[in-house]
């Protein structure tokens, strides 16, 4: 199929339509506005319903409702808006409903700024709302991946009955790259016999709820959710190993930052330093096992993020103390340059030699 040049935000919307999404509820916020704008314009032509809610809280509760009725549904926002949605996301996880949530991250904390950031790592990968649950979190590094992972997100959400997040940043949302819309990979999905679609007088009503006052019952639900999350950890981890044959230094970076690190690796190569990259594609489940595959040539790990080092915790768990873990980051919408990362890499290698 022909390649199309599209903005990231629009491409994610187009991918959702292609994946059979039927409802979109959102509320405007930069830098993801082109996504609801695209849906407002295009969704109706494909049998979808677009609705701009009165707030982020309303939007996520509309998602809760549509998901409970068994529809493929999506919402999108950016950092502070996603913070507002956390109550609803927790309810959706508690009611074991599938949905897709897009976060085009901007600098924080608070209202922060509108430039790209990766400072919602903790919020995305640790659940985000109250209670014991996790979201599957996809972090695309380019627009083709944003499209492919958005389609996959709907399948995974339905397969596990769990909310799934697609985590981009302002750059992924705003930039244009060629995209090819391939047919989404279909999983064998169980029928949604739990959905509230009307009994027609023929069955007992289905109930969608996240309130369980009996402790034993709530404990049972928690165990069920944990069993499901374990399966996700076993089956859904995605990562890329880049230039990892004989690296002296191993970078760990995801999304936009991983692209900058790839340029850094080229710069280091021209100076005779061989570096590789572990790029998590799923941030949860985190690719801990990638760190077991690091060759013995590696002397250190350098995590690079557009945050103050939120992913460092997971990198340290992954490497289990076998190698020193360093960190370089820029925040607040500042983007690290390849040269800055080169300098930090050399400083680190100097230190561990």
């Amino acid at each position: 199929m022909a390649r199309i040049l599209m903005k990231g935000n629009e491409a994610i919307g187009a991918a959702a339509i292609k994946a059979g999404c039927k409802f979109f509820f959102g509320y405007p916020i930069t830098p993801q506005n082109e996504l609801p704008e695209f849906m407002a314009r295009e969704f109706g032509k494909h049998g979808g319903t677009f609705l701009q809610a009165e707030s982020e809280v309303a939007a996520i509760n509309m998602v809760y409702g549509a998901a409970g009725a068994g529809a493929r549904v999506m919402t999108s926002s950016s950092s502070p808006g996603i913070a507002l949605k956390q109550e609803g996301i927790s309810y959706i996880a508690g009611a074991e409903l599938p949905c897709v949530i897009v976060n085009i991250v901007r600098g924080g904390p608070g209202l922060g700024g509108i430039q790209p950031a990766q400072s919602d790592y903790y919020q995305s990968t640790r659940g985000g709302g109250n209670g014991d649950y996790r979201l599957v979190v996809y972090a695309p590094a380019n627009l083709q991946e944003a499209v492919d992972l958005t389609m996959e997100a709907f399948e995974v959400a339905d397969y596990y009955r769990n909310p799934v997040m697609v985590l981009g940043d302002g750059m992924i949302g705003q930039m244009m790259e060629p995209i090819e819309f391939k047919e989404p990979k279909k999983r064998e999905l169980p029928s949604k016999d739990w959905a509230t679609t009307g009994t027609k007088g023929k069955r007992k009503p289905n109930i969608i709820n996240s309130l369980r006052l009996a402790p034993a019952e709530l404990e049972k639900l928690n165990h069920k959710i944990q069993d499901k999350l374990k399966k996700i950890e076993e089956n859904e981890v995605m990562y890329e190993m880049y230039n990892m044959e004989k690296p002296e230094l191993v970078f760990c970076a995801y999304g936009t930052t991983s692209r900058i690190v790839k340029n850094t690796i080229e710069l280091l190569k021209s100076e005779g330093i061989n570096a590789g990259l572990i790029r998590p594609i799923t941030l949860w489940p985190f690719p801990y096992k990638a760190f077991e595959e690091i060759p013995e040539t590696a002397k250190a790990i350098l995590t690079v993020e557009m945050s103050c080092g939120q992913m460092v915790d997971d990198v340290k768990i992954g490497i289990s103390g076998k190698l020193p873990v360093g960190f370089y980051g820029r925040v607040g919408g500042m983007i690290p340059s390849p040269q800055e990362i080169v300098d930090k890499a050399k400083e680190m290698l100097g230190g561990v030699k």
Partner: protein, 182 residues
């Protein structure tokens, strides 16, 4: 091997974003790797706009241009001041001399001065000043074929604006002529 990293910059409304998009579009049609990254933010009317375009024969790492632009197309003075330092050694700057009355300061880059607004006015519309600059850039670098840019333009415009194609074609051509002698 092509690995062009171009900054297109000017006032909002000068068509710098669409200039960059057309270049990306044409690169894609010719089967190259391309990326287009806009600046975005709270800008006032008449404020500055710019985009980073990469056209490459190999996969693109970072779409951000940091001090390694191979070319900059600047449509106004603030853009010249802002982006002169972003060019790599030996890079080229295309300057809209209709609106910028000063020369560049760096000695290690090439400069081409194109009176884009005047040329655009002569051929019928000041709005195609961006296409004049793009024509000049393509003449100097041959990153993509002019015909491919026209093909891209047809796709962007659609049939209802087919009548604007000849004007844009002319603008590209006059831009190319403007730098042939320099």
């Amino acid at each position: 091997m092509i690995n062009e990293r171009v900054i297109c910059a000017g006032f909002g409304g000068q068509g710098v974003m669409s200039m960059g998009q057309l270049l990306s579009y044409a690169g894609m049609i010719e089967g190259k790797h391309v990326s287009w990254l806009p600046s975005y933010g709270p800008e006032m009317r008449g404020g500055t706009a710019n985009c980073n375009v990469t056209v490459s024969d190999t996969p693109i790492g970072s779409p951000i241009i940091t001090h390694d632009a191979t070319a900059a197309i600047v449509m106004n003075l603030p853009s010249l001041i802002k982006f002169e330092s972003e060019l790599e050694n030996g890079g080229m700057m295309l300057i809209n001399s209709s609106l910028i009355d000063r020369k560049i300061e760096r000695k290690d880059i090439k400069a081409y001065y194109v009176p884009a607004n005047e040329i655009a006015g002569e051929i019928g519309s000041g709005k195609v000043a961006n296409m004049v600059m793009l024509g000049a850039y393509l003449e100097l670098t041959k990153v993509v074929k002019v015909e491919t840019v026209i093909e891209a333009l047809r796709k962007v415009f659609g049939p209802s604006k087919e009548h604007l194609i000849p004007l844009n074609e002319k603008a590209l051509q006059r831009g190319a002529e403007a730098v042939k002698e320099q």
